[in-house]
């Protein structure tokens, strides 16, 4: 038997950070931020979450972050610190769906609670001050926590016409300028949702506002947590990771590898039906009732990397594929342009016909047209040669 190497994590993740260093770091953060914000215990108790549930959740997050069990205590400590770290959350060119999905859950899980009570020194949707007062609290945070605050950006940044498509705040500052200013002194910039990570629907062709993802518009490094909306577990995990090691997590395509390194198709609960060849053919048919694979209904799971299968949504109750609709690939670059039509397999997807502008065929139709064209050409040439040979007699073609 050949010896197989074990399944290995990406190199940067292969070794856990030394636990003692992590603990020392947490001590330091405790001294710095321990007094501000709400104590997590109180927050959880107020929301009816028991200590036991919290510990279960900490070990879940420890495993999700690919850390060994010895880190559970550190993760719990980091979670307790999380609501105290200053966060500036910018709303750019977006629909606020990401914020809504995290804040509006009927039965918020611990991840959602932590997000809800993050020390949002600036978050347009939930902060109390408005207008110039809001502006002031932003300026205060920027100067008081220079280089320490985390910046979360939701939404893409329109860059056409010098960013004039997006004006924010009482002074009408452009999104481009505000984002640049806030990003400049942030400890790290987290791009939340598809728009901030990859540009979102507004950056789909023809992209009139020149919408660009944050890292492209500002030319900076971001941690991208794409999805439409993103999963709150992925954001909280990234923040915990930050508190634990003070650095970016291992990234896959700019996204935290622990959350985005697995393909939906490979961890899908319907995968056995894919391999069996059992597919939903039509919405509501017998196969749909039996939970068959949604590949022929346009599922984009084979081209999508995310943790929906493992983490689930709404307290891990479900996620689109389990609920009966195919994946639309919302965590992938340019999904709006490339994954459409969302309810058809790629073979029925549109492609521009080469050399003919503005006309679309399906991938399959273009393919068969190629083969048909070759067959027609062959038939024409055969008929032509037969004809010429018939009129010229058979001797002629042997001339050299």
């Amino acid at each position: 038997m050949p010896k197989r190497p074990p399944l290995r994590a990406p190199r940067s993740q292969r070794t856990a950070p030394p636990l003692d260093r992590v603990e020392r770091r947490l001590d330091r953060l405790d001294r710095r931020f321990g007094a501000s914000g709400l104590p997590l215990d109180e927050l959880l108790a107020r929301n009816g979450v028991s200590r036991r549930e919290f510990l279960k959740w900490s070990s879940f997050m420890t495993a999700a972050l690919c850390l060994p069990p010895a880190f559970e205590r550190a993760v719990a400590r980091a979670a307790a610190l999380a609501p105290r770290v200053p966060v500036v959350w910018l709303h750019l060119q977006e629909c606020t769906g990401c914020t809504e999905s995290a804040l509006r859950s009927a039965y918020p899980g611990i991840a959602e609670l932590i997000l809800e009570y993050l020390s949002f020194d600036y978050h347009e949707t939930i902060m109390a001050p408005a207008g110039h007062a809001a502006e002031k609290s932003l300026e205060d945070t920027l100067s008081k926590h220079r280089g320490e605050y985390l910046c979360v950006m939701e939404g893409s940044i329109p860059t056409a016409m010098d960013g004039k498509y997006l004006r924010l705040g009482p002074a009408g500052e452009t999104g481009l300028s505000l984002a640049r200013r806030v990003a400049a002194d942030a400890k790290a910039v987290i791009a939340i949702g598809h728009c901030a990570s990859w540009g979102g629907p507004q950056s789909a062709a023809p992209n009139p506002t020149g919408a660009r993802p944050v890292h492209e518009a500002l030319g900076i490094r971001t941690i991208r947590i794409p999805g439409c909306p993103y999963n709150s577990v992925s954001l909280v995990g990234t923040i915990l990771n930050f508190l634990l090691v003070g650095d970016l997590p291992a990234l896959a395509d700019g996204r935290p590898a622990w959350a985005y390194a697995k393909r939906i198709h490979d961890t899908c609960p319907r995968r056995a039906h894919f391999d069996a060849g059992e597919f939903v053919e039509q919405w509501g048919d017998e196969g749909a009732k039996r939970g068959f694979c949604l590949y022929k209904m346009g599922c984009k799971g084979p081209y999508t990397w995310n943790n929906c299968n493992e983490m689930g949504w709404n307290e891990a109750a479900s996620f689109p594929i389990r609920a009966g609709h195919g994946c639309i690939g919302c965590s992938e670059n340019a999904f709006w342009d490339q994954m459409a039509p969302l309810e058809k397999p790629l073979a029925d997807g549109g492609v521009d016909i080469p050399f003919v502008r503005g006309v679309e065929g399906t991938v399959d139709a273009v393919g068969w047209a190629l083969v048909g064209g070759a067959a027609a050409g062959i038939a024409a040439h055969a008929a032509y040669s037969g004809l010429v040979k018939g009129t010229r007699g058979s001797g002629e073609n042997r001339e050299e």
Binding site: P5, A276, F279, K300, L346, A347, V366, V371
Partner: protein, 234 residues
């Protein structure tokens, strides 16, 4: 006088048929993978059907055979002792002229260029090159599509995931995303089949119109040329 002209070595002929077989097998299985419309398992209950699994397995096995055929072809392309194809391709004036003459001959049926030469005529050679280029495209894009399926845990040789990773990185760098990679893999498949159809037709056409036994080239390795005035020995 009828003269036998050797055109293809044994290895070349084996690789040719291996290529033909695997292209057909990959195309048919690929069509199923793209839009699994036939071979539906009967019944609704639990079963041990593995239709897609098996079709993908067959696709991958023939893909590997295709890769072997391609790589051997690539080697012979440069280093064949008998007739390296690369020689028919040098873009020298005479070669280009021959290709144009051959093309004109196909459409006028006059002025047949000399075909007694053991080397492949350039027009045919360009066609072979194009088909093999597309096979190379299929190989790289196919490897890219295979990448998520094979890891260190399920590969016999550790270099395999590395190769797949490189193929994925390269094709995504060129094409933009794995979705486009898959569309290109799909379209290139049809292009290969279309070119293969033209290729088969041309060989039959040559066989019928030149009566030099072109089809037997790929079976026995020889074709037969009738020299009315004996040409210079080549």
């Amino acid at each position: 006088m009828i003269r036998r002209v050797r055109r293809m070595s044994v290895v070349m002929r084996i690789m040719h048929w291996l290529l033909a077989l695997s292209v057909v097998a990959c195309f048919v299985t690929g069509l199923y993978i793209a839009k699994p419309g036939w071979l539906r398992p009967t019944g609704w209950g639990p079963s041990d059907a593995l239709v897609m699994g098996n079709v993908r397995f067959v696709h991958f096995v023939f893909a590997m055979l295709l890769d072997v055929a391609f790589l051997v072809w690539l080697y012979l392309f440069f280093f064949s002792r008998e007739a390296p194809l690369v020689r028919s391709l040098l873009p020298v004036g005479r070669r280009l002229g021959e290709a144009v003459r051959m093309l004109r001959h196909y459409f006028t049926l006059r002025d047949k260029p000399p075909t007694g030469d053991p080397h492949i005529d350039p027009l045919n050679a360009y066609g072979f090159l194009l088909i093999h280029l597309l096979v190379f495209v299929q190989m790289v894009t196919g490897f890219a599509l295979m990448r998520p399926t094979f890891s260190h845990a399920n590969s016999l040789v550790p270099v395999w995931p590395w190769i797949l990773g490189k193929a994925e990185a390269a094709s995504v760098a060129v094409l933009g995303s794995i979705v486009v990679v898959r569309e290109v893999h799909h379209l290139a498949a049809f292009l290969i089949v279309a070119l293969a159809m033209v290729h088969v037709y041309l060989q039959i056409w040559r066989d019928a119109f030149w009566t030099e036994g072109h089809i037997s080239v790929v079976v026995s390795g020889y074709k037969y040329v009738e020299d009315e005035q004996p040409t210079k020995p080549t």
